[in-house]
Every structure is written in C-alpha cells, then in structure tokens.
C-alpha cells in the first residue's frame, strides 16, 4: 500500500468516525431544543450535566457547537481525501480545538459537577479517536509516495 493510499484511507476513516460524533451531538442538540434537558428526572447524572449552566454558551446548547464541529471535521476529511491540501490543515486545527474543549468538559464533569453524562463521554471518546487518527496521518509531502 502506498503512503498516499494509506493517508486517503485514514481520511475516510476520520470522516466515518466523525459521523458517529455528529449523530451523538445532533441528538443532544434536539434534546436541548425540545426542552427535555430542562427538567430533573430520568438518568440523574445526564440531567445534572445537560441541565447545568455549562451545557449552554450564550443561550446556545453546547451540543449545537459540537454538531458544527463534527460536521466540519467530516467536511475537511472528505475534501482532504479528494486531495484538497488546505483541508488537512483545517482538519488538524478543528480536531485540535475539539480535543482541548473536550478536556475542559471532562474536567467540569469530574471536578465541578461530579457527574458524567454518557453521551458526553461517548463524544469525548470519538474526539480522542479523531485526534489519534489525525496524529497518525503521514505527512503530505512524502517522497515514498508511488
């Protein structure tokens, strides 16, 4: 397998993995918009997290930003797989930002709210996987491409 083929396969895997994150974030966005997170009941920890003040930024559910981020990752990975050079840079920056934000939200859950939401943990796992895949991408200008 050539390096460029391996790189393209990784971009495709990143795109597919980001769809899983997009599904998760989109579901949470709809839950927030229908007011289902603005009550107490059901899974205690999920509501403690999703109903907290940390779940919104200027009134917009954090999940909506997550949906946008995952969609961006999917888009950049798709374009990168088709050879658009700059898409890889944007992909790296977006995944990097998501990684840092994920660390922040894990800190909030662990040390501020003392509660974990399984949907948020799933998203964190997806983000860490994406970060690993992006790190594993071979450099773009590789002389061994055949």
């Amino acid at each position: 397998m050539t390096v460029s083929r391996f790189r393209n396969i990784l971009f495709i895997v990143v795109a597919i993995v980001s769809l899983a994150g997009l599904t998760d974030a989109a579901y949470l966005t709809v839950q927030a918009l229908t007011g289902e997170t603005a009550v107490c009941g059901g899974s205690p920890d999920c509501f403690r997290v999703l109903g907290s003040s940390y779940a919104k930024v200027t009134g917009i559910p954090v999940a909506a930003f997550g949906s946008l981020a995952y969609f961006s990752v999917f888009s950049f990975a798709t374009f990168a797989a088709f050879g658009y050079a700059r898409a890889r840079l944007f992909l790296t920056l977006t995944v990097g930002a998501m990684f840092l934000v994920t660390l922040w939200f894990l800190y909030v859950q662990a040390f501020v709210l003392h509660a974990y939401c399984r949907y948020c943990l799933f998203s964190a796992a997806i983000t860490f996987l994406l970060a690993g895949l992006v790190i594993a991408l071979p450099p773009s200008q590789d002389a061994s491409d055949a």
């Binding site: 966005t29 229908t34 007011g35 289902e36 009550v39 107490c40 059901g42 205690p44 797989a81 088709f82």
Partner: protein, 220 residues
C-alpha cells in the same frame, strides 16, 4: 464530476443531518398527561391537603410537582409567584412535593417545607428553599441550614425539628408522591394548568401566560 464529488457528499450529509434533526424535533411532542376528573384538584375533599397560593376560588389552577433541589424548578419558582400576582384573583397555584431520589437532600427539603406548613408558613419556607437552593444543595449537612431558615422565617424551632421527624410531614410528602405516581408524573417540574400538562417548552413565562390566558378564556 469527480471535482464536485466532495461537495456533493458534504451537501448530502448536511441535508441528511438537518432533515433527521427536524424529523426528530417534530416527532417528539412530549406525551402530555391529563388529570382525570376524579383526581382534579377541584375535586371535593382535596382542599385541605393542598398548599395553595393565590385566591383559593380562582378559576384557573396551576398545579406544580416540584423538587426543591431541582435547578429548573428553582428557575420557575420565581416567575410562578409573579404570575399569581399578575393574574390575581383568577389564578391559584398548588404545589406538590415530588422529591427525586437523584437529589440527596430533596426529601429533607420537602419535609422542612411541610414542617413549616404545619406552623402555617409553607410558602415562606418554599421561597427560602428555592432562593438558597445553590447553597444547601451542596452542603454536607443540609438539615442545619433548614433549621437556620426556620429560625429566619420565625418558626418555633423545637416544633419545627419535631415536625420534620414526625408522621404528619412524612404523610404529606408521601401523599403528594402517590398523586404523582397515580398521574404518571416522573420528572420535575411538571406543571398542569386546569388539569392539562404543559410541554417542556411551555414552562417559560410567555408559555405559561399563553396557557393561563387560554384557560381563562375557556372558563369565561
């Protein structure tokens, strides 16, 4: 064609995501509960067991199942009081205790409110508990705080402590929880206006005003 393929793929995923989101949003009208006629708050014999704010003979009843440690309940508590004043004498509010097991101090808070109610000061304790929710929710020994609130609102402290442990307060809280179970209420805040449950997005000041006005129109 290959040049446009990534744009097509991204556009398809965008449309699929937005479409699925819209379908999910529309497909989730919450299951709205209604209170059967025989369990309606205007049924005879219920008056003495209710905590009522506003004119007891008001044509519109807003029945709230609340948990004192529930943050969304704390949020609506403030404007429910304003609504009673705004719609006086046409609106009354009935509060039912529904302490959820996920909230460590919720049952004690409910008992504190009922104990205050036995000295005729339920609503004063209700207001203090919601106002100070952020403080006592995280306290290791919330009971001490409840006793300080009791002192603050001028209750007989010894009687308050005794009543918190007593059968009457417990029976009141249990009775409200049984009512919640019988109606299928599992989350807080759950709000009924004239026996019809308000949806998740209706529990805003504007949503409640619209529902109260509609209920008033129906009664006139």
């Amino acid at each position: 064609m290959k040049r446009y393929l990534p744009f097509i793929i991204v556009a398809v995923v965008a449309i699929a995501t937005l479409g699925s989101g819209a379908m999910l949003y529309r497909a989730r009208p919450p299951h709205r509960l209604t209170v059967p006629k025989d369990k309606s708050v205007s049924a005879k014999g219920d008056a003495e067991s209710m905590h009522v704010r506003g004119d007891p003979k008001a044509p519109v009843t807003l029945e709230e199942f609340g948990d004192f440690q529930c943050p969304p309940c704390g949020s609506i508590a403030g404007f429910l009081d304003e609504l009673v004043k705004e719609y006086d004498p046409h609106l009354r509010i009935v509060f039912r205790n529904l302490p959820l097991s996920m909230h460590e101090h919720a049952r004690d808070a409910a008992l504190a409110a009922e104990a205050a109610g036995l000295q005729g000061r339920f609503w004063d304790m209700h207001d203090v508990l919601y106002r100070e929710q952020a403080t006592w929710s995280k306290a290791a020994n919330a009971r001490e705080l409840f006793e300080s609130y009791a002192g603050m609102i001028g209750l007989n402290l010894d009687q308050f402590k005794k009543d918190m442990e007593g059968e009457k307060a417990r029976a009141r809280v249990d009775s409200d929880q049984e009512r919640a179970n019988s109606l299928g209420v599992k989350i807080t805040p759950t709000v009924f206006i004239n026996d019809y449950q308000m949806g998740p997005t209706d529990k805003t000041p504007e949503g409640l005003r619209a529902a109260i006005s509609a209920a008033l129109k129906e009664k006139s």
